[in-house]
Symmetry: C2
Subunit: 220 residues, 2 copies
DNA sequence: ACTGTAGGCTTACGGTGTAAGATTGTCAAC
DNA sequence: GTTGACAATCTTACACCGTAAGCCTACAGT
């Protein structure tokens, strides 16, 4: 197969960095299930087994790309306004996870958390502590916030929403075959989502987020 | 292989019901990744391809067992106390999902929701509407609550917690290799989780849940 | 110039989901 | 009682997966 002897400068050498980057591109483009060692290698113009010189196995790749995603989070900065600070971080994390719809489930897949993730956790916990929450309270607040971020993200990415028009078509189709008399509230709910959103409205994600933040403020 | 000719009464005939039941048992016992067509067939004393006469393919099995899990949820009953009613349902769903740790990620995997799931959604939405929430508000409340249930469940099942002792060992090991000076709050957080829990304390799940419910009540 | 090694490649193994078709067991109609 | 139909089961096969083991070759250090 290797017709011409390739010399080093004829193609960019592989590297862990390059492998992970290509893996992210592949997952972004075709979903996490399209990320196989063989396809990834192909994308890099290389054979599958060559990847193993830069990455110890597939799960190493998965935690590697999950790590890179977390690095995109905007961490909270020291600020007197803890709510605004945490709010910004939560929204940033949410946005990042939407950009890489495969990432959230990877992060919850139960591998030992990466350094980037630990830094994120520590920063969030630190902000809460600095805001005056007790250790107990900080613990609870952290879990409530992270649950919301992850749960909401997974909810949104779960029904892999295509474009808006496609969503409308899909939703109306769904509506049509729904036993309207049996589940009237569900029908109303779908209509709710079909309604054009007022751009001044708070995004759905922030509704739950603020519910939590306001509740926490009262408990502080 | 089939040394003796089997007659109908020598073994229970297959059925969708029996296949799904066995699939749940297998997933409960060995995790969702141990559920393969061949292993499932083996468990039922049958060849893999025989399953396809009762189930259209593997993803049919997956949505089938996810469905059966949702059927275990305790639905809210009509009640003047909407908070208590929803609270009970949320906690019930959480408990059910913990019993089948593979279920939550399956439910968020983006298949068209099952009838059981739709009924659950409709019941929750109906309870909120009956409590006096506007259509908009009901929509937001629903998503916030479901995000919490799913997110928290996935958080807990994600770090597939073994027994309590194993957890302690794991956590202390984790602590040991944590750069304590770099992430002091994370260290505190882990200690928090190592502390024996006061049985009178509200479970962690309910903390976030009540934060949301109380916040909703104020917005009603 | 010699040699060790790093980074690529080949082959192979046991696993996966499932399409296609052969085989069997059961029962209704004649 | 025989036949035919049909449904359930099994067999075989294919294309994919992750990865272990080993080969080959070009460069780096001495």
């Amino acid at each position: 197969m290797a017709i011409q002897p390739r010399t080093k400068d004829q193609r960019e050498p592989l590297s862990r960095e390059r492998v992970l980057r290509a893996a992210i591109d592949l997952a972004d483009a075709g979903g996490i299930e399209s990320l196989s060692m063989r396809r990834l290698a192909q994308e890099l113009g290389v054979e599958a087994m060559s990847l193993y010189h830069h990455v110890s196995n597939k799960s190493d790749i998965l935690s590697g790309i999950a790590d890179m995603v977390v690095e995109e989070y905007e961490l909270p900065e020291p600020s007197p306004d803890w709510k605004a600070s945490i709010r910004r971080t939560a929204i940033s994390a949410y946005r990042v996870l939407l950009r890489h719809p495969w990432a959230a489930s990877l992060l919850l897949a139960g591998t030992t958390p990466s350094t980037a993730r630990l830094r994120y956790m520590d920063a969030l916990l630190g902000t809460l502590r600095a805001a005056g929450f007790s250790a107990d309270m900080t613990d609870h607040a952290y879990h409530a916030l992270d649950s919301h971020i992850m749960g909401f993200t997974l909810w949104v990415t779960g029904m892999n929403l295509p474009s808006d028009e496609e969503f409308d078509a899909l939703a109306t189709g769904f509506l049509a075959q729904l036993p309207a008399d049996e589940m009237p509230h569900l029908v109303e709910h779908v209509h709710q989502h079909l309604k054009p959103r007022d751009p001044d409205d708070k995004p759905e994600f922030e509704f739950g987020l603020d519910l939590l933040l306001d509740g926490l403020e009262r408990l502080r």
